[in-house]
C-alpha cells in the first residue's frame, strides 16, 4: 500500500483492465503501463482513461493534458488526475 488513495484507486482500475494473468504480483506506482509492464494496448488505455474519468469525475483534455506522459506508469497517471482534481 502506498498510502496515496489516488494511486491505489488507479492501480485497482489498471489491474481490473489488465486482468489477473497480466497483472504482476508486484504491481506498484512505478509499474509501466505498456512496455515491460502491463502491456496495455491502445484500446485498453482508452478503457483506462474512460474509467478514470468516471472514477474521479474528471475529463481529460487531449489538447492540453500530457496524456502520453501520463500513461507511462500508474503513478504518472495518478499525478495528472490529482492535478485535474485540484483545478
Amino acid at each position: 500500500m502506498t498510502g496515496d488513495s489516488t494511486v491505489e484507486r488507479v492501480q485497482a482500475i489498471v489491474a481490473g483492465i489488465a486482468g489477473p494473468r497480466r497483472t504482476p504480483s508486484d504491481l506498484g506506482p512505478g509499474t509501466p503501463l505498456w512496455k515491460d509492464g502491463l502491456w496495455l494496448d491502445s484500446s485498453e488505455m482508452l478503457e483506462l482513461i474512460v474509467a478514470c474519468e468516471t472514477e474521479f469525475g474528471v475529463v481529460f483534455d487531449p489538447a492540453h493534458d500530457p496524456i502520453q506522459e501520463a500513461l507511462k506508469t500508474v503513478s504518472s497517471l495518478a499525478g495528472v488526475i490529482r492535478s485535474k482534481v485540484k483545478r
Binding site: D41, M45, L46, E47, P62, A63, I67, Q68, E69, L71
Partner: protein, 306 residues
C-alpha cells in the same frame, strides 16, 4: 513512450501541417510516378498505373508469386493467371486512385461514384454518433467520397493523396483537421486519436475507421479463402464506449465507377465485450466472405499485406 509533446494528438490539437498528407507507405519512386501521371487527363494515369502494377510484378517476382498464390486459393472458374494479373492491375490502379491521379476536382470524383445504402447512414446520423466501419478492400478514400456527396465524415487514420497541391476546390474535402491519426506502434500514441474519436461519437459525429490494418491489437480473425483477415480492436472499443451504431462499409470498382456500399448497422452493442465481439464477428464474416467471392481481384490487402 514518446516524450515529444509534438507527437501528442497531432490532428486533434490542430498541429498537423496542411500539406503534405501523402501516402506514407509508398516509396518516393511511386510518388514521383503518380505526380507525373497526374499531368495526364483522367483516366489515363490510372490506366498506366494498372499496367505498371502488372509489369512491376514481373520484375518483383515475390509479388507475382503472392498474386498467383492468392488466385489459386480462390474457388470458382476463373483461371489462376487471369485472376492474378487482374489483382496486380487493380493494385496499380488503386495506388493511382488513392493518390487521386488525374482527378482535378471533387466533381470528377462525384461523377464516377455510386453510393448504395446511403439511407442507412442518413438514418443513423440523424439519431447521433455513427461509426462507419471500413476495410482495406477495393479502392480507398471512402470518407472522401462521402464528403463530396455532402456527408460530414471524420476519418480515423491519415488521408492520403499524391503529395501534389490540389486545387482550391479540394481543400474543404481534404482538411486534415477532420482526420484523427491513430498510426504508430506505441499504444500511447494511438490513444489520442481513439480518445478524440470517442468524444466525436458522443457528440453525435460520424466517424470512419477501418477494422483491419497494420496498427492496433488483434480482436479476431475472419477466415477467408487465401488467408484470414485480421480485425483490430480499436473500433470495438469505440463501439463499446459510445454504443454508436456501427455500419459496415465496403467498396469496389465497377468499370470506371467507384461503388461504396453502406450496409445496415451491426446488431446493437452487447454489454459483455466478449459477447459483442462474437456478435460482430458473426455479422461481418458473411459480408467479407461475399466480398472476396465477388471481387477477389480487388482484395490486395489480403493478397499482399497479410
Amino acid at each position: 513512450m514518446n516524450a515529444d509533446p509534438k507527437a501528442l494528438l497531432p490532428a486533434a490539437s490542430g498541429r498537423t501541417e496542411l500539406w503534405p498528407v501523402r501516402p506514407i507507405s509508398y516509396s518516393p519512386a511511386v510518388k514521383a510516378v503518380n505526380r507525373g501521371l497526374n499531368l495526364l487527363p483522367w483516366p489515363w494515369g490510372e490506366d498506366m498505373m494498372a499496367l505498371l502494377g502488372v509489369v512491376q510484378a514481373f520484375a518483383r517476382v515475390s509479388r507475382l508469386r503472392r498474386a498467383l498464390r492468392w488466385a489459386a486459393a480462390q474457388p470458382g472458374a476463373r483461371g489462376r493467371w487471369g485472376l492474378a494479373l487482374s489483382l496486380l492491375s487493380h493494385h496499380g490502379r488503386f495506388i493511382a486512385m488513392e493518390a487521386l491521379v488525374g482527378i482535378r476536382e471533387p466533381e470528377a470524383l462525384r461523377r464516377h461514384l455510386i453510393v448504395e445504402g446511403e439511407e442507412h447512414l442518413i438514418k443513423a446520423a440523424e439519431k447521433g454518433g455513427t461509426l462507419l466501419l471500413g476495410f482495406h478492400l477495393g479502392p480507398s478514400h471512402v470518407p472522401l467520397a462521402l464528403r463530396v456527396i455532402g456527408h460530414r465524415v471524420t476519418l480515423v487514420g491519415d488521408l492520403e493523396h499524391s503529395g501534389r497541391r490540389p486545387g482550391a476546390t479540394w481543400l474543404p474535402f481534404l482538411n486534415p483537421s477532420e482526420s484523427l491519426s491513430i498510426s504508430g506502434r506505441k499504444p500511447g500514441g494511438r490513444l489520442g486519436g481513439l480518445y478524440q474519436a470517442r468524444r466525436l461519437l458522443l457528440d453525435g459525429g460520424t466517424l470512419f475507421i477501418t477494422a483491419d490494418g497494420p496498427f492496433g491489437s488483434e480482436a479476431f480473425r475472419v477466415p477467408l479463402p487465401g488467408g484470414a483477415m485480421v480485425i483490430r480492436s480499436g473500433w470495438l472499443a469505440l463501439r463499446g464506449h459510445t454504443r454508436a451504431p456501427t455500419l459496415p462499409v465496403l467498396t469496389y470498382l465497377d468499370g470506371r465507377k467507384r461503388v461504396v456500399t453502406i450496409h445496415a448497422a451491426l446488431p446493437a452493442v452487447e454489454a459483455d465485450p466478449a459477447r459483442d465481439m462474437a456478435v460482430c464477428r458473426a455479422a461481418l464474416s458473411p459480408l467479407l466472405e461475399e466480398y472476396v467471392q465477388r471481387f477477389p481481384e480487388q482484395c490486395r490487402s489480403l493478397a499482399f499485406w497479410s
